[in-house]
């Protein structure tokens, strides 16, 4: 992945998507009988963003952080209250209808395609992207073949499993080439084979056409492996934006130690009792974030002597994007850094 990232950096320099000072507030909901009304929500709260040509750029954040609201404004589906959105030099706030001619969009909903067969969904989407019948059919066949969907091409989307349906919608998003793909949680419910097919298809388009991808996700593990850069969203703001490696440096050189006890933790061992104060306990599992020296000492304490008898399993890991996410306040309760 890193080599691909370097390629993307070489190709960088051109901004595909530039967002400045984006603000969107949803009006307060009126209360109905019995139910209180909701306050106004500032779903985008002054967002600045640059996505460069050829990169896979991720928007990461918890549910309700404003990811989808941001994407809807980039795709011309929602008009921002303030700020500007430029896609490949086109002002999308003034000309929202141009977004459809620049973007391949995969939304979270498939209800428009649900009753079509996989082949017809892809072909129709291609035709509505302005392809003539012959080109739409040729691209349909190529994309279905590329994603391994040919065997189920004649089945309606409704009859497929969640992951297959998602893959079929992704296929429809690829028919009719676009310089920018906006994918809202594309791999939800997919098995590893399908997921691999998605990222292979994305990488191919990037290598051949310099396609840029804007990806919405809350799957941090996937984010870590496929993204070139990540913006972390929290309550309508971008609280961090960097490469996954750059973001990890934010949590410093802390190490995560996970301890799983067989039964009760041996609190009569003083080292273990001391660790309890800094541990995040979930059942028999303790999670600790420690400096490397502390981690070494902790592991030595629990793997030698009487504590070891009570220990079922332990892991020692360098920080993942998930730790960054939690450290940045993405987990709300465990926020260490408040932006």
């Amino acid at each position: 992945m890193r080599t691909v990232g370097k390629q993307a950096e070489r190709a960088a320099g051109a901004t595909v998507c530039a967002v400045r000072g984006l603000v969107k507030t949803y009006p307060p909901a009126r209360g109905r009988r019995g139910a209180p009304g909701a306050d106004a929500v500032r779903a985008s709260d002054g967002i600045d963003l640059d996505v460069r040509r050829g990169e896979i750029f991720g928007l990461l954040g918890p549910n309700g952080a404003g990811k989808t609201t941001l994407v809807r404004q980039l795709t011309g589906l929602l008009r921002p209250d303030e700020g500007s959105v430029a896609l490949l030099g086109h002002d999308i706030v003034r000309h929202p209808e141009r977004a459809a001619r620049l973007i391949g969009y995969l939304g979270q909903e498939s209800s428009a395609l649900d009753e079509l067969t996989v082949a017809l969904a892809a072909e129709t989407t291609g035709r509505l992207r302005g392809l003539d019948l012959r080109t739409a059919r040729a691209e349909r066949d190529a994309v279905l073949d590329e994603l391994g969907l040919t065997a189920i091409a004649g089945r309606p989307l409704k009859k497929l499993s969640g992951g297959q349906r998602r893959l079929a919608c992704f296929a429809a998003a690829l028919v009719g080439e676009r310089p920018l793909l906006v994918l809202d949680e594309p791999t939800t419910g997919m098995d590893p084979v399908a997921r691999r097919a998605v990222w292979a298809a994305v990488d191919r388009r990037r290598a051949e056409h310099g396609t840029t991808v804007l990806l919405v996700t809350h799957n941090v593990i996937e984010a870590e492996t496929v993204l070139d850069r990540v913006a972390v969203l929290e309550r309508g703001r971008i609280i961090a934006c960097d490469t996954p490696a750059g973001l990890k440096e934010l949590v410093g050189d802390e190490v995560r130690v996970d301890l799983v006890w067989r039964d009760e933790p041996p609190l009569d061992v003083p080292e273990v009792a001391a660790l309890r104060d800094v541990a995040h306990e979930t059942g028999r599992r303790w999670s600790l974030r420690l400096a490397p020296a502390e981690a070494r000492a902790a592991v030595a304490a629990v793997t030698g002597g009487p504590a070891f008898a009570a220990l079922d399993d332990f892991t020692l890991a360098t920080p993942s994007l998930e730790d960054v996410y939690l450290a940045l306040g993405g987990g709300r309760a465990q926020g260490l850094v408040k932006a």
């Binding site: 209800s111 428009a112 129709t124 003539d132």
Partner: protein
Amino acid sequence: MSAVSAEAAPGKVRPRRGDRQATDGDGAAPLAPRARLLPALSAVYRAQLSRARVARIPLLFVATFQSVGIMILMRGVVDGGDEARAVVAGSSVLVVAFVALNLLAQYFGQLRASGGLDHYATLPVPPAAVVLGAAGAYASFTAPGTVVTAVAGSLLFKLPLVHLWVLAAVVPLSGAALAGLGAALGLLAPRQELATLCGQLGMSAALLLGVLPAARMPEPIAWARDLLPSTYGVEALARSFDAHPDWLLVAADLGVCAAVGVVSLAVATWAYRRAAVR
């Protein structure tokens, strides 16, 4: 960092409909072509017809049996003449109302509520193509049921079959009027349940005001009957059962259907545009 793409075309080319090289004029990247109206319309129509085949055939049977059942019931009340014509014509057009008005209102209501409109809104397709394609598919899907009902009714009430070819005009024109109305209701209703309710009420109105003989109605209900577009389809079909139909009046009735169809489809297109960009 510049907001200008590296592949920017040196563009003073004016954007044209379907133009592959349309640019913003200030060096922005070229836009992909728009989908043209007719190919997009035919693509939507084909897709909608295919999903109708999968999902709507049982409902078409229901619509047809319902209409045939109503005619059998009314045979006990009506004994030929003008009233029999109204019953057969009303029952036939009821099939159109069931599918084009009721089911289409439900479809668009559901599509809007579930966010499915985003799919179309993020494709460069003219709003009219989506609305007309869906309305056309639903309207043409009513054709077999309408023909079966009209033929069965004519045999049941011993009406002449010779002028039933007029269905070829009644189905598409009243179909356009009712499908436009259904699409507009589905897209304008603030909630999905209201879209369903409006579709059902519209169909009930078409049932009661179309099938029951007009002469016996109280005046306010007769006005409501005049306001309902399906009435004119019913009247046109009823007139064609005469031995020597007054074709001028038939044409006038169908003209009303066509006019309502144009207006309601225009409203539906506007409603789609409004619903797609919130």
